[in-house]
């Protein structure tokens, strides 16, 4: 018997401790000018201006855009949205979502790179940083320096300006939900009540922390949209990508030369230095990439200096890179694009229809279910109803009430109701008929209200019951 299991010897492996949490490494972004940076600036300014100016506009003696949550009324210029019209808000959100899906499928993360408030405010904060603390290298140096009066001055100037921008942002945001002129006066006279004050402070701090301190951390670890966008991508989606076929092998060289053993990438690291999320685009598509295209601007500037054709890093598609075709073009006839745009069109039409068909008066009829047997005169049968009338107008209305029903059925009591501006009234009414003139157990009846111009109707039932 020599069937021993052969002995195997294992050297104990190197055991090392791994921290599952990692401290954020500060990203020093290098400033870059270029085509895509210009697009961001020119599209950003009008949007920012709109954001800051909109709440101050007036419309018919009231704030033009005001989301009055306590009163549950949204004012958007000439439009007043009541809680009854809430489906409009739902439709708007659906439209926004599908708009985002469609754009993302076609053009990648355009929202992230150009219009997302996180990106825009981070850009503003970076701009301030650059103005106060200087260029990328100066900032790295400044952070390494011992604390000095000069460093303290620069740092406090930066944070002071950040806080000022953050406060303007927070104040403006609260101004969409609270009358903004009142709010401005309260800031000026230090007399803001606790509720708006705490919201202003909250949004100020949120802006300051997110755009000043968190930056790419928000996109990488907090934003859900960043994480589920990959499901909208397909091989024809525009992405910011490095072309390894052309660029590799990378290597440094003299200006204006093209060594035969090297690709077009001069390995200058500029694309890494300008990246606000701190990635190397040459490693391929990464979830951190917000498609801001700063690396394209950076690379193009180098290619220009080297007299190489531009576009080593460019907006392209996965298929274009794979097939190594420069002029691949954008294919729009893809299932995802077609489905998203169809849903978008349908939802937009429904939305438009809902907005244009908002009624200025609303009538609801609730048949009284309690006490079927009311003490009415003998031989009469009576049904009671509660009319709920909503006056969405800014003026009072005199409503006349009538009944579209067989002649025997008569309305008892007041037939005119005066509604105050924006009043909701529950109005009890009674309908009586001599019992022998009521044929059938259940009669359909229609309540009609009229403000002189238009009629509004609501159906109900008249039930014959004998005690």
């Amino acid at each position: 018997m020599n069937d021993k299991i052969p002995l195997q010897e294992w050297a104990p492996a190197e055991v090392e401790e791994l921290d599952l949490y990692e401290k954020r490494e500060k990203i020093y972004t290098r400033k870059i000018e270029g085509f895509f940076q210009k697009i961001r600036q020119y599209s950003g300014w009008p949007l920012l201006l709109g954001y800051f100016v909109l709440p101050w506009l007036q419309w018919d003696d009231r704030q033009a855009v005001l989301f009055d949550l306590p009163a549950r009324k949204f004012y958007i210029f000439g439009l007043t949205i009541w809680p009854q019209d809430l489906s409009i808000l739902a439709l708007l959100l659906i439209i926004a979502a599908f708009g985002l899906f469609l754009v993302t499928t076609v053009a990648g993360r355009v929202w992230c790179g150009y219009t997302c408030p996180q990106t825009v405010w981070t850009a503003i904060f970076m701009w301030i940083e650059q103005k106060v603390e200087g260029t990328r290298n100066q900032r790295i140096k400044l952070d390494k320096q011992e604390w000095s009066l000069q460093k303290l001055a620069k740092k406090s100037a930066k944070h002071g300006m950040w806080l000022w921008v953050a406060f303007s942002t927070g104040f403006t945001f609260v101004g969409y939900f609270t009358p903004v002129y009142e709010l401005g006066w309260q800031v000026y006279s230090f007399s803001m009540p606790l509720t708006p004050l705490s919201w202003v402070v909250f949004f100020t701090l949120a802006t300051y922390i997110n755009a000043g301190w968190m930056r790419e951390q928000v996109c990488r670890h907090m934003c859900p949209y960043a994480r589920f966008q990959s499901v909208m991508f397909d091989p024809e989606t525009l992405i910011v990508s490095y072309n390894p076929n052309r660029g590799e092998p990378r290597g440094s060289r003299k200006k204006g030369t093209q060594p035969s053993d090297l690709g077009a990438c001069v390995d200058c690291q500029l694309c890494v230095q300008v990246c606000p999320t701190g990635i190397d685009i040459r490693d391929g598509l990464q979830y951190e990439c917000i498609a801001c295209a700063l690396c394209i601007d950076a690379c193009d500037s180098i290619m220009e200096k080297m007299n190489y054709p531009k576009g080593l890093i460019s907006y392209t598609t996965e298929n274009a890179i794979k097939t190594n075709t420069v002029e691949h073009g954008v294919k729009l006839l893809r299932p995802k694009v077609l489905v998203y745009s169809t849903v978008l069109c349908v939802m937009a039409s429904v939305f438009a229809w809902r907005v244009f068909s908002i009624e200025s008066l609303e009538l609801n009829v609730l048949r009284d279910r309690q006490a079927v047997n009311a003490a009415v005169a003998p031989g009469m049968v009576e049904n009671r109803y509660t009319l709920k009338i909503v006056n969405k107008n800014d003026e009072s209305k005199l409503i006349s009430l009538s009944l579209d029903a067989p002649e025997a059925l008569q309305l008892v009591g007041a037939k005119q109701i005066e509604l105050q501006p924006a009043e909701v009234v529950s109005f009890p009414v009674r309908v009586q008929a001599p019992i022998e003139q009521v044929t059938g157990l259940v009669l359909p009846i229609v309540f009609v209200i009229s403000d002189g111009n238009r009629q509004y109707t609501h159906e109900s039932r008249f039930i014959r019951s004998e005690r």
């Binding site: 791994l18 949490y21 009284d368 003490a375 003998p378 009671r384 009234v425």
Partner: protein, 302 residues
Amino acid sequence: MTGFWSAWVIGLTIITLILLVWLLFATRKIKVERDDNTTGHVYDGIVEEDNPLPAWWFNMFVLTMIFGVGYLIAYPGMGSFQGMLGWSSANEHDRRAQELEESFASSISEFHGLGVEQLAANDRAVNMGRRLFSTNCSVCHGSAGQGGFGFPKLDDNDWQWGGSPDQIVHSIAKGRQAMMIAWKDILGPQNLPLVASYVASLSEGAAARNNISSVAPADLAKGKDLYMKNCVACHGADGSGNQLLGAPALNDDIWLYGGSLSEIQVSFSAGRNGQMPAHQGLLSDDKINLIAAYVLSLSADQ
């Protein structure tokens, strides 16, 4: 909560908290045997890459735990311990209710001190009264005050307890208790139909409906005799009732419990105990006045 269950909840809560803190710190770092940017974990050939979470994430965990401990000290959560702030949902309810009362009181301050008749002439006051009526009174008296079986109709000019503003306010604030005792044994079962016929004969409408003219005059006279002995003290010789006692008029054609012979007979033979609950304390005086104004306005149209 008994002492045992209180201790049980406290014990479980503390053990869970300690375990969670331990779990967080114990899994903060792991030992790996390789240096290839993986955690060394392989499941069915799938390698777990080392993608560390941000450190502020860990700090947030710690903060939530500190918050949790602070919360359990400040608010009720630890068994029957009520928390240092003395917060309770009952207190919260009372505070909110008081806030609401105050905001309501200020919104009707223009009506404060006005008499019920003045209020009844004011459309805004009547509108407010109608809303208060819908909330507080319509369950019994109907959405438009039309009443129901056993619940007085309020939109006519017939009043069991009086229709002056003061009497209406009194009815709402202090309540009313009607007392019709059971007369079955006192009158004797054989006499009940006779009295019922006589009572019906007092009202023109009821007399016609119940065909009183076909009742034998002798029976009607017997009924009248019994009525005069037993009922007249409250309901009056002519059946006009007595508002001070809440004794309804019998000579009109308004019947709280039905006007057929059998219904009339049931009412007095078995007795009736109609009750209007007192609303003083449930509703402020201002609210009671507004409701009274609305009730008054209902009958003003008639």
